[in-house]
């Protein structure tokens, strides 16, 4: 699909197939076109080019009120002049569902989102989390083919967000309806989705499972957007089927990879290593550098000095300055209450990574 607003191309030739029962996330920074894409699925925008098929049926020009699709709005859009039950029953009433069945299904939906007993409340008597559940119940009660969620958790505070994350994925599991979610929050996307599409400037950059997005990003853009990453410019020196050797001038060392890259020796590549896959070792004068797992001696190890430490409770983040001046980020979990190897500011260290830890990026 393509969507233009005047000269602006909001969604640029995007093709996506979403499987039934999937929890699919559209992930990207604001202005990347993800919301426009979602609104086209809902029927609030008409694509400039392209089609929307649900179960083989063409819904491209169908108005929103005749699509088997329901949306949970970012602001929840719970009708303030109706009770919780009236809100949930609204869609059924519009479909001409009889009162008796309506009551039954509303009660079911209330139970599904754990709002039993709150049916007679008015929206202004509910917390943000409860309003979100009303919005969910209101969409689910219609038993749509697809539920669309626009930044479903962004309006909630951090603690609640974390709780609702699990609840939302459990709920989706139980009802088995296809969920398509839009979010700029990568944690939310990784935690909830079975598959994610990363969007950038109206185009799809990568579509993959959360783990694949994180561990096997296809580009610097994805690697950088999902989580944090250390990127090193490099050039392949040796490329065999079972290993590769890559020069990293930025780090002043040579990297060993446990698989071939297929990259030409003439092009620039990037090596991406996640902070938690970096190892930190004490560096004493005269002592030999440690040998990294899966690599011959002398590869994947570089000397540095700890420039900054952020203690986050469950883990600590270290900013390490290499001798080339480049900063590298390392995350270490605080596994014990007294860290045996307590690193401190300005301490000389060895930084290293396993032969399998780095991802080669061609763009």
């Amino acid at each position: 699909m393509t969507k233009r607003f005047g000269p602006v191309v909001a969604v640029d030739d995007v093709s996506l197939a979403i499987a039934e029962g999937e929890f699919f996330a559209l992930l990207g920074p604001s202005g990347c076109g993800k919301t426009t894409l979602l609104r086209m699925l809902a029927g609030f925008e008409t694509p400039t080019k392209g089609r929307i098929l649900i179960d083989g049926e063409d819904y491209t020009r169908t108005p929103p009120n005749r699509r088997p699709v329901n949306m949970v709005f970012q602001s929840y859009a719970v009708f303030p002049h109706m009770t919780v039950s009236e809100n949930i029953a609204y869609g059924l009433k519009m479909d001409g569902v009889r009162a008796a069945e309506r009551r039954e299904r509303v009660a079911e939906a209330l139970a599904l989102v754990q709002l039993e007993g709150l049916g007679d409340r008015r929206p202004d008597q509910l917390s943000g989390g409860q309003r979100q559940r009303v919005a969910l119940a209101r969409a689910l009660v219609k038993r749509p083919r697809v539920v669309l969620l626009d930044e479903p958790l962004s309006a909630l505070d951090a603690k609640l967000r974390e709780e609702l994350r699990f609840e939302l994925s459990r709920l989706q599991d139980r009802v088995g309806i296809t969920f398509v979610m839009v979010t700029h929050d990568q944690d939310e996307a990784l935690a909830l989705a079975t598959r994610c599409a990363v969007m950038h400037k109206g185009s799809l950059v990568q579509v993959a499972t959360p783990a694949d997005l994180y561990e096997f990003p296809s580009s610097r853009l994805v690697a950088d957007f999902i989580g944090s990453v250390n990127l090193f410019e490099g050039r392949v020196r040796v490329d065999e089927s079972d290993h590769a050797i890559i020069d990293l001038p930025e780090a002043g060392i040579t990297a060993w990879l446990d698989h071939g890259t297929g990259a030409s020796e003439t092009v620039q590549i990037w090596l991406a290593i996640r902070p938690e896959k970096m190892e930190l070792h004490k560096r004493e004068n005269g002592a030999a550098p440690p040998v990294m797992e899966g690599t011959p001696e002398g590869y994947n190890v570089m000397p540095g000095t700890i420039a900054d430490i952020a203690y986050l409770g469950s883990e600590s983040v270290y900013e390490v300055r290499l001798e080339t001046g480049k900063m590298v980020r390392v995350i270490r979990p605080n596994l014990t209450r007294w860290d045996q190897e307590d690193f401190t500011w300005d301490e000389p260290v060895w930084l290293g990574w396993h032969a399998e830890a780095a991802a080669v990026l061609l763009q």
Binding site: F44, R66, F73, S75, A77, F79, P80, H81
Partner: protein, 285 residues
């Protein structure tokens, strides 16, 4: 948050700021009103003198069937005009609220444009359209149809009142529609409601405060309108303001005019109270 300064901490500046408007208000609003109130309990003595005798005779007379009928008629005409204003004004307000930003400004200016012309001129202009040799009947005549008696009827008064008061209906409704969260409308459509159902079940209930304000802003001045029924009405369509005017001028019966005026004011308060009740019920859970 900024700390608020209590007026008691700065009585001097407070008095300086409040004094002039308060003095103005007392001198030119409260005092004349008190005089009129006093007159309403008075009796005519001679041609120019009024004795404040504390009599209720003026009120008793104001409640005679003749005058009650005129009050009732005023209510009916103002009510009809208000109703027509709502029927015309709501769609207009809806259209303005959902227009493109640039078109919206233009439409708002168009709604307010009549204010830039004198009421008297506007009324005379409308009369030239409606009178027997006017534009409408001219057009009818050109089509070979007999002329219609349009001017000097109750219908003409209602038409005139609608014409004058429509902006007062449109603007508050527009304001409340403009504030309306658009995602509520989208949610309604998304849940399967047609556009019409969305207007009646979501837009109208949520615009209710604005609609009530618009109705009141139309009804109250319409109820007390003088010029329109005077110029456009027939012998049968005089409203209460015309009767009051007659008491103060031709009949030279100020006490009775004052009593009628106060009765009109009490009725206006009643309308305000009714609106307040409507509103209050809304706010309750």
């Amino acid at each position: 948050m900024e700390k608020r300064v209590d007026w008691r901490q700065a009585p001097g500046p407070f008095a300086a700021l409040l004094g002039p408007p308060l003095g103005w208000f007392l001198l030119f609003f409260a005092a004349p009103l008190a005089v009129v109130l006093a007159y309403s309990f008075g009796t005519n003595v001679g041609v120019a003198d009024i004795a404040i005798s504390g009599t209720f005779a003026n009120y008793a007379r104001a409640l005679e069937p003749v005058y009650l009928a005129i009050f009732l008629k005023s209510f009916a005409i103002a009510g009809a005009a208000t109703f027509v204003c709502l029927l015309l004004g709501f769609p207009v307000a809806l259209a303005i609220a959902f227009a493109q930003p640039r078109v919206r400004t233009l439409l708002l200016v168009l709604v307010m444009l009549p204010f830039w012309t004198n009421l008297l001129i506007r009324t005379y202009a409308l009369m030239t359209v409606l009178r027997d040799e006017g534009l409408v009947n001219g057009a009818l005549g050109a089509l070979g149809l007999p002329p219609l008696p349009l001017l000097y009827t109750n219908g003409a008064v209602i038409l005139g009142l609608v014409y004058v008061h429509l902006p007062f209906t449109v603007l508050p409704i527009y304001a409340s529609l403009d504030r309306l969260d658009r995602s509520l409308i989208e949610a309604s459509l998304d849940l399967g409601a047609s556009h019409l159902a969305t207007v009646f079940r979501v837009v109208l209930p949520l615009a209710r405060p604005g609609i009530l304000a618009g109705l009141l802003l139309t009804f109250i001045p319409a109820l007390g309108s003088y010029l329109t029924p005077d110029l456009m009405g027939g012998p049968d369509s005089q409203m209460i303001a015309n009767v009051i005017e007659r008491q103060f001028k031709r009949a030279n019966d100020w006490p009775f005019g004052a009593a009628l005026a106060f009765l009109l004011m009490y009725l206006t308060f009643l309308a305000l109270a009714a609106q307040g009740l409507f509103r209050g019920r809304r706010a309750e859970p």
